[in-house]
Amino acid sequence: MSTFGGLNTAYSGLVAARAGLDVVGQNIANVNTEGYTRQRVTTSATNAAARAGLVAWGATPGAGVSVDGIARLGSATLDAKVRATASVAGYTAVRANALGSIETSLKEPGASGLSHQLQEFWAAWSELDNGTSASAATGLLLGEAGQLTAQISAGYRAVTDEWAAVRGSADALVTEVNGAAAQVGELNGIIRQTLASGGSANELIDKRDALTATIAAITGASVRAQANGTVDVLIGGNALVSGTDVQTLAVAGATTMPTGPDAAKPDNAVRVVWTHRPETVGVDGGELAGALSLLGPADADGTGGAIAEAAASYNDFAARLGNSVNNIHLGGVTSTGGPGGKFFTFDAGNAAATLSVVPKDATGIAAGAAGAGANNAANADKIAQLGAGRAVDAAGNPVTSPNAVWSAFVTKLGVDTGIELAQASSANLSASSAVTLALSNSSVDIDEENVNLLTFQHAYQGAARVMTAVDEMLDTLINRTGLVGR
């Protein structure tokens, strides 16, 4: 070791302490930056210079400290957990929101709900049976019936509007994923280059992690780290981002809720496809999968897309109401003695939206039984009995009350919504705790940084002291040596 080696050693200590202080400064500056992961300077002791030649130098100390790099104290495991839980939370949140919004549109139980109007409708038939003032009673009945059909179609429209809203959000989500994927690709390139040239890409990695977390929350994508510092983002096992190569997604299928036979057409099925090849993307989870699961068509078991199922329930209810009232109405006679026509008319495949009242005035209402007198209103009573669940068909078999059909729908939707809400709340909890865990590992603690600040400050002071000592030693050697007797 040369005479001046000590100075170098002290200098390396100064450099390391200053680097440490700089990193602490960066940490404290970003204490509230979202997605920032705390950093530490990594140092290692420099060993003594290798011996050259035959002269034995004896034991020599090391040559100080070297700053190796700036470590990013993130945890891949915790980040993966954040992504996985965010994907589940996104899936359930979208479903719970949509079902909750449909449920709110029912306004049940209460005076603004459809069931209330249904009771008014049955009561109007019973009032007609009282027959005291035919014109007032028929006016009341036609008014209540009109209100009932308006409320059914408004409720149905709320469901189709929800479908369109979820469909629109699927488009927005895919756009967001495409944007985030493009940025991940770009960052992959920059990070690879930076790392290859020995630089620190910590802040860029933070940014990329935030983007992949967004993609995972939307699509349930998984992230695979590569040795060169880039990451691959995989959706359903296929690469969305691979190094700097980025693929794009698109939503295909109907843009408004398909009804009737259209619903079963494969072209109308809402799905996410790759733009570079005509294949459906297997979206694993996340908000997009939640939206797609809501947008599916209804099936015979009632397990299809939740929105289409609600619409199908509306249609089923409207058709049953229409048919059960019509069946009895057709068996009656009008006040002029003519046979009764249909009371409700509707398209079989689209009953809720098209349900309307046929009679325009009292002459079209078949309130009476045949041959029992012009003021007879026994048929009106029969229809009113539908509400009490006591109606029977021509063969004497009981007819299911539309009340029961509606109540079953409300209950089923309530149960489904309750389950989704509970799932969303628990998924949200686990997502939130995963984020807290990741943050507790990666976020900056001011107290800790303060301690580090002191440590590095002291280290700096110590190194400076060493330098002063060496300097004084050299002073002694150079200026004071050889002056004996002068």
Partner: protein, 297 residues
């Protein structure tokens, strides 16, 4: 896993806890102002289904009460008409008995009785054509406007009665069959009174007024029997009304139990939650303030 605590995680959990606390507070506030425990079906699907059923039954009960009131009006009108008819026929019987003493009366006196009988017949016809809210109570579902024509023909086109529904499974007949009570055409009680009137005015000694006394008695008994039948039906409809009133109370109690919140419990919960929220705020304010910087010089 030992979690590292940093200012960010501290803030985050403080925020999350305060948010949860505020949410519970808001929920209780909503409950205490709306006083409803279920505002949507998912709050409690089973109770919501019951609430729907109870509400449906409440509306039906209200309608049955209206029907029963209407039916009671019909039966009251019938009762009045049949009561008056009984009085008229009793008077007609008295006059017939009087007129039967043929030998002792002058033709003028017999004529006077005959005029009275004619008057009673007109009164009886008026009673038989009694209407309630525009509907003739003795003509069933006919829309002819009167139960008996001037030829004493009953206008009802079928024997189907007028019924009022007072319960999901029960109806009460609220009209009376005019033909069964007063007869029809030439066999009617009006024709009988005409015959008596003609017999009183007759000079033929073989025509005897007393021959018709038995027929008048039969007609009187028929009317009295019909009156008691109407009375029985009115009692039925009144007991049905009373039952409906009781049911209305029960259903409202059920609805309240299903839907409405218990004010005392809600207010107590609200107060507790308020205290919890305030203490959470106070504790959070104290905990997240200090850092090491406060103590380093």
């Amino acid at each position: 896993m030992i979690a590292r605590v940093t200012s960010q995680t501290q803030m985050r959990s403080a925020q999350a806890n305060l948010q949860a606390s505020a949410q519970r507070l808001a929920q209780l506030q909503e409950q205490s102002s709306s006083l409803k425990t279920i505002s949507r079906a998912s709050d409690d699907p089973a109770r919501a289904a019951n609430a729907l059923a109870v509400r449906a039954e409440q509306r039906a009960t209200a309608q049955y009460t209206r029907n029963a009131d209407n039916g009671n009006g019909w039966l009251t009108a019938l009762d009045t008409a049949l009561g008056a008819s009984t009085t008229i026929l009793t008077r007609a019987r008295d006059l017939t008995v009087q007129g039967a003493n043929a030998g002792t009366m002058t033709p003028a006196a017999r004529e006077a009785i005959a005029v009275q009988i004619d008057g009673l017949k007109k009164d009886l016809l008026t009673q038989a054509n009694t209407s309630y809210l525009g509907r003739t109570v003795f003509a069933g579902n006919s829309d002819a406007g009167k139960a008996f024509t001037t030829d004493y023909l009953h206008t009802a086109v079928s024997a189907t009665g007028v019924e009022r529904r007072v319960g999901a499974d029960s109806t009460v007949r609220v009209d009376a069959d005019g033909a069964a009570i007063f007869g029809n055409g030439t066999t009617s009680v009006f024709a009988l009174l005409d015959t008596i009137s003609v017999a009183l005015r007759s000079t033929d000694p073989t025509v005897k007024v007393s021959d018709h006394l038995a027929a008048v008695d039969t007609a009187l008994n028929t009317v009295i029997a019909a009156n008691s039948d109407v009375g029985a039906r009115q009692a039925r409809i009144e007991s049905a009304t009373a039952a409906l009133v009781a049911q209305k109370g029960t259903l409202e109690a059920q609805r309240v139990q299903l839907e409405d919140a218990d004010l005392a419990t809600v207010i107590l919960d609200l107060k507790l939650q308020e205290i919890a929220y305030q203490s959470a705020l106070a504790v959070t304010a104290r905990v997240i303030q200090p850092t090491l910087m406060d103590f380093l010089s």
